[in-house]
Subunit: 158 residues, 4 copies
């Protein structure tokens, strides 16, 4: 992989749009069971993994809602981070030691009661760092609830 | 409160260092029970609330640890956000509708197994926005595990 | 303007996509001459202002380039901030006291020698805060050079 | 240098507080003359470089001030980035290819007319990434004008 295989924006300009994902949703779920059991407290459902992208659902649940039934800020941060992890592994395959180095999130409006969906697309895939852009939306609504960017560190590969 | 009652850095330069906190730990805990029950999934323990500062503990628990016993990134983000909320209410009193508008976090090193402590100090307290700086540390170690800044929106007060 | 007139993403979902910009490029340039003469050190050229969006060019110039002819990081940060200001004024009209409250930028790859273009779209327009997303690209190339998010504070309007 | 030689916070807890800086102000200025002549548009004055820290002055100048004589946001961002570069080179010595990968800044209050001072301390020094915390102040005043965190990528060293 080249030093700075930067991925395009918007998606249609991605050089590798025709590439297949390097990890299936099934393999991703198996990896999580083994290496990240704590993710289960959120109940994330990975709906789609592509090369350079992912879409993940955070089901509404009493444990993570504020009064009024809307999902909390910390739950949205966890969701954004998780969607980035899915998109990254869809691009580089099973690299369990990839870890978040930074995350920036802007909360834009109170979510609607109900599930949240996070869509991540990678903005950059370097040898050592990947950067992604995550939009969080209430299901069925176009206006975003939150917008995040995250950076992952990729361990050296043999 | 003036338009931009900016709080000093380092703490010893705070104009209001001699002011008393506007909320006790006990009143803060009561408020959370009523308005933010979802916080319980983390089991945060608010150890100290000052005027412009707070210290919160995230107890190690299986639900939030990665293999190896270290607390996860999402748990650290939730902790940073929570410590900021405590510091803000220690400064403006009970304003339950204060909400996070943005959070930026850098993960600096893998935590040690065990509890984490977050220390927040407010950098700015304006009429509409408050900004704080949060350092997350493994108990007993000086080197930080994570560093965050967060912004809260303060609702208009009568 | 409603409390949280959140603008859509992607642009085609904007509720107000059919609205006209509230400021022309000509009026924007006049405002800058009067209120922000320091912007001239960068030589920004505002190419387009829409309702909720803007496109600004940073011409290559010796003053802002690194050896090799590529535009510096600080010049890219100034460009991102400026594009957000143009997009905001295209949405709320002439409000000279709108000021940046925060900016987050990820540098994705070294730019090509030559001009840079920044495209901003507003993600949120509230009564007190606006949040935008800015992509910086080398002219003619789809892959982004930098990606930023910025928040502006909007003064109370009569 | 170890994989994660994390630097302490507050400064007095730095494991290496007794270490000497790896670069003098004079050598730093010579390096800039050769490799970053564009920095001269700001007129930064590097006042102090330590191991893990630096202090840099941005002199008030008509080119970078808003009406009222206060230094602009883009000038403050450039200052924060520059102070981080000085602190990094004080810690790892002359590594000209170290580049900013991300920067996050919160503007806290309008500066006073006059010079600005930025103080950087490194929060983390890894093999591949360094993270620093920068406080910007109006000369003589304790309350901060802006607060930033920045990440630099460090090229592999032989």
């Amino acid at each position: 992989m080249s030093e700075s295989c930067t991925l395009g924006s918007p998606p249609e300009s991605m050089d590798h749009a025709s590439q297949l994902p390097r990890m299936t949703v099934e393999a991703f779920n198996r990896l999580l069971d083994e290496s990240a059991p704590f993710q289960k407290i959120y109940g994330f459902v990975t709906e789609e993994i592509g090369y350079g992208s992912a879409r993940v659902r955070l089901p509404a649940s009493e444990a993570h809602t504020r009064p009024g039934g809307t999902l909390s800020g910390p739950a949205q941060m966890a969701l954004a981070d998780f969607a980035m992890y899915a998109a990254l592994l869809g691009t580089i395959g099973e690299v369990p030691l990839a870890v978040t180095t930074s995350l920036n999130i802007n909360f834009l409006q109170r979510p609607q009661p109900g599930d949240l969906l996070a869509t991540c697309r990678l903005l950059k895939l370097g040898k050592r760092l990947a950067v992604g852009d995550i939009t969080v939306q209430s299901e069925g609504l176009a206006t975003p609830v939150a917008h995040a960017t995250a950076t992952y560190s990729i361990p050296p590969r043999g």
